[in-house]
Symmetry: D2
């Protein structure tokens, strides 16, 4: 049996944080005594708590690590323990696994801020700096934090100021006034813009199938998208719908299957491969519209991550998934709003690379998908169960006026 | 072992009818020999087939009954056997159970057309007329058809002429160009109007929750709805959103829960009960807008069927479900298009009362619901997986111009 | 601007109650000052808080009503205001609308406990007793509580002792170890039994379609079900599967459609109508197995509530929905566990009649349905996204050993 | 305007093939005249049809290509036109795009069978052989078929003999008797075994989360799985559940989150990386059970395809998606049954590599996913909407007896 004291500061009551911490302690079979609790008398005052946690030694260690994920840190902290990597791409046993919250590491008595917060990474300390590193990136000699001693995690900031996040507090549900919801997402994009934040869009093929591509292209052209993350399917169907007027062989204008259309996406991929890149195909006049065209014209960077059995793929697709993720990571800094549009695979992948605090809107018609996305990673994710085509149209209309 | 010859006429190949019939024969463990088949040489020519079916006597009878459901009738037909009902609300054993296809009954050597085709009913013959009757409506002395002898069912007309129905032939899916789909539904409503058909709307509460009520009200006021079928929930939330600006306590304008709003729907129901009817509440100026208001003002009839544990209910709700269904039946003749909007219970109930040939559009965000609805009853049902609020808005815009 | 002081007692931190209350205050545009907060030092100690709430008068009143729904009551309380009903089935304006939590009403300076807690009802005081009454049941002269003065609501008891309710705390999801989940539901049923609680089952037709009826029948026969709530569909398909071996015409043993089977459910209903009741059909040997048979044999009461366009219906179906709900209400006292099996309509209806504190398990394969059910009414509802047939089989095996 | 005559042979009526062909002709705005149709008089006789198709030249060409996808070939056929690839990984314009049906190519007057049928590939002819090649695999000088002249596609064999495939003909639905369905899948696996077919399993992480991994491992050990296709997530959670008793940090035995468990999957991946491979980790005794362990022990090959932002990944994961697909292709020959278990990404990818005729069972709890999978690629896909954990348990019990 041992006892450790933890403390947590922030909006710990109205963010439900204190309750979650006490819950976790009891779930672990441990017990608590509240040493001190200060609850802000008004909305503006932060609250704080010091809690003595008692339990079996083998339960207590993992519990304290878990609590740290919520921003509850041990009061007594030594320097972090650093262990050198002895094999490329393999971490020392007991490595500290990161959250996506702002964190600090204590080295030589000093607290270093962690650069590029990302979940499920290692913490590397070098040259007086601390930064996250995915497992495959560490090399022999890198000094990596082991255990949770000397790591401090900041409790997530509660989004009390944004009405938005009260909006669907109760549940992820399709039964919400949608026109209103679109207006609010538009507001958040405008707010992000004003404070200099970058806007990330992750898009799946259904954006094209449901007729949303022209509207997303309008948003790209008008500067409302700073980074696009997608796969071979989205880019292919977007180009196919521009070049041949079909999406997976189905006429976008008529909604009916086109004869011979089952191979349309292959023909489009093949021609882009012949040109060497999407940009070259745009330059050559082969692609004259759509989202990818707009990205090329407006110099909006895109990361197309490969998936198993992609047709082709398009020459711009990064077929090595580890390299694709690293490319995505390099592009993400500065993103403050993420719009996940009818994408599961790329939405989860991209979301897992983002730091906490990035406002994330997950739009999909399938409630199970939205729930899954909104539960992931970001502390600011909002699920919107709706049809993506009409959603994108209305969003573009809000931001840009009717097409 | 026995053999019977059946024949079927119509667009039996391109409606997949012949294939289904042969399938059913083999599924029953029987065998067939095709005596004659004429396949129309061109699109315009009908096709026909005569097929000798062989099988065990106890398999053959039920099989022939089943084939009749598809419009394949025995070549040799005697008069129908009529048996008198000997107890109110109870049918004679072996009663003929109706399909919703156009049918005829042979009485005294003459073929009488069946009035008011509806599935799962009995066939009553009286005064030289034949008509469907639900089980609970038959009374002692009614002469009811027993067995399938002397009943002829017409193969369903294949909707080859309406491009619409090719549209989603492949599958019920959310991945369709939605703007286009809305345009086509609007076309079908216009076509129905032009040929004098009546338009039925079945609406669930999500129409109100997702912000679609004002648009549906516009459609009612402008004469695009001839009959509304709904429940206590839809009518209550529609009135609540007009009177208090909330839907189930959630502000329709703000999207946020209203304090004390959890009882709003009860207060609204209570006041309408005080007025005595929705029409009286409209006359008194208590209800000044919304779908129910539009129905009262435009003299559009509505049938509100009760459900177990309805709050209140509203005075117009027919709480006896058998009476509610009979009222609905009485209102349906002349309907040629049905729009099912985010309703499961009332959509299935209403759809089961409709004759085949009524074009039915089932709109819901949940694919499982749409599949279930589209598989039911009508031979002309089309499932549309989308968010009902934006759908109704766009549909109203198509028919009436922007609000 | 006004200020009122409220207080709440119980496990207000670990049940997230305090956070929800502060959230609601801010959502209403009001502000708070925490006058006093005592957080239990250990798991066993209750916590309490006194909070001064300040806001506009027209926001404050509704807010305080809303907070009472969570168990936060005004400190200063007078007697409740009672107003006599002046028209049958219509409540006085401003009537108090009940929660399903344990409550008390102050009459003549004394706190009377509210009998039969049920949400969305009125509170009637008569002969020194207070009880809930649905709107349609009040008659001229009944004295009904108006406003929230003099009403005290007890904060919900937090289910900290039942490991079960931690189980899916994070989300309603299909991705849970199911064998384990079944074992825990079985444990809860056993625990309810031991403390003398009654077990309610609400069942939909999919229980029969997926092959779960024989297992549910075993549970009924062995005394694991004390009350069954269902509709015409469930009872019909259960009897059909026993009498004809089909469910909606599909062979339960073979899984294939039966020829002529489309009318099987009608034939079964008709014969039960001829017998006059399900019990009579059982006595006569027409029904020899299945869930309804087991209920008759084991004297387990059932309430079959009618729905619009029920086929038949079976003679035991209460086709008047208001009467059906009242019958259900009369049967519910003593129920402490509710098992909702693949039912939406009857599950919501029945759940809305239950007091808080009834442990409720909502089983359905559709995540959207489960989320909707689990969000409703009861404070103890747990959603389980799984296939109901295998679930019921495994549950019966747990309770009774393999069939 | 032009006219071409096509012919099709096989079970063209009971497989609905003739109807689909006539439908496609009309959809294309063309017209047909049936020159000759022979419908097999009994079940055993094949049918055939010769049809003259008339239409605009620009509609006719694509239509004939489309019809060929269904197995309807032009009567007059010349040699295929072969064009040499002039750039690695890029096909000649107008390349023939393959179906997954058995096909032949006419070269020098002789019909060569197409080896390794796979959809969406090119057809390469070399050394008197014809085979499919995905776009990225063609190199300069490869002679590729251009246009559809000289290609003959065999109509799919209709699965009339397998009762199984009638089973859910009507719709993909969760409302089916599941015990029965499991029994039939078991029968199909046994039948495949008996005729020497190989069994492929594609598995997603939910197999582990829902408790199905031990049962799938039993099936692997007992020889019921010949090839496993999965991703980093499935393999990681399978090993995590064996090594640490958790799946994504949730205890498999208790169903509750484990403290510190959020990093469990990373620790497991890290240790396997240290060992160098899953097989090495098994040899070293680090992994002692589960599906991957069973594969190593039973020498069952597995292909783990990488996805964007995989954690780690495990050393066996092929992170290049193009290479992963090629590895999968190399492993597939001989597979005659495919079981897709709660996988979307890998199931679609794997399914798209399979020839027609491989019986495919797609099991998922989400109806939209099942519909999407069952509509893809294979002509023999059956969707089963159920909970994968209980499904796998029951399947293993059927094949092997209770665990």
């Amino acid at each position: 049996m041992g006892t450790e004291t933890i403390e947590v500061t922030g909006h710990i009551v109205d963010s439900l944080l204190l309750a979650k911490i006490l819950d976790a302690i009891l779930d672990a079979g441990c017990d608590y005594e509240i040493a001190e609790v200060r609850i802000g008398k008004t909305t503006l005052d932060p609250s704080s708590a010091r809690i003595a946690v008692t339990g079996d030694d083998d339960a207590l260690g993992p519990l304290l690590d878990e609590l740290q994920v919520h921003g509850a840190n041990r009061t007594a902290q030594d320097d972090a323990r650093l262990v050198a990597v002895d094999r490329d791409g393999v971490l020392p046993a007991g490595f500290y696994s990161t959250t996506n919250l702002a964190s600090e590491v204590r080295v030589d008595g000093e607290w270093l801020p962690v650069e590029r917060p990302e979940m499920d990474c290692a913490l590397v300390v070098a040259d007086g700096r601390a930064y996250t590193a995915p497992m495959h990136r560490v090399v022999v000699g890198d000094r990596v934090v082991v255990g949770s001693e000397g790591v401090r995690v900041h409790a997530p900031h509660h989004a009390r100021d944004t009405q938005m996040f009260e909006f669907m507090a109760s549940e992820v549900s399709s039964e919400k006034p949608k026109a209103l919801l679109v207006a609010r997402v538009a507001d958040r994009l405008r707010a992000a813009r004003e404070r200099g934040g970058r806007i990330l869009v992750v898009a799946g093929p259904a954006v094209v199938h449901t007729g949303g591509a022209p509207d997303l292209a309008r948003m790209v052209s008008a500067g409302w998208v700073d980074l696009l993350s997608a796969g071979n399917g989205f880019a292919t169907h977007d180009i196919e719908s521009n070049v041949l007027g079909t999406s997976l062989g189905v006429s976008v204008a008529e909604g009916t299957p086109t004869e011979g259309g089952h191979a349309n996406h292959l023909r489009v991929i093949n021609e882009v491969r012949r040109h060497g890149s999407i940009a070259a195909a745009v330059e050559a006049g082969f692609v004259t519209g759509g989202v990818m065209h707009a990205c090329v014209r407006a110099n909006v960077p895109f990361v197309l991550g490969g998936s198993i059995r992609d047709d082709g793929p398009l020459p711009d697709v990064i077929s090595d998934t580890v390299a694709a993720t690293d490319e995505l990571r390099a592009r993400l800094p500065g993103v403050s709003v993420a719009l996940m549009l009818a994408s599961t695979l790329h939405a989860i992948a991209t979301g897992n690379c983002l730091p906490a605090g990035v406002e994330t809107f997950c739009v999909d018609i399938n409630q199970a998908v939205v729930t899954k996305l909104a539960d992931r990673g970001s502390h600011q994710a909002l699920g919107i169960v709706t049809d993506v085509g009409p959603f994108v149209r209305q969003l573009a209309d809000h931001l840009l006026g009717p097409a």
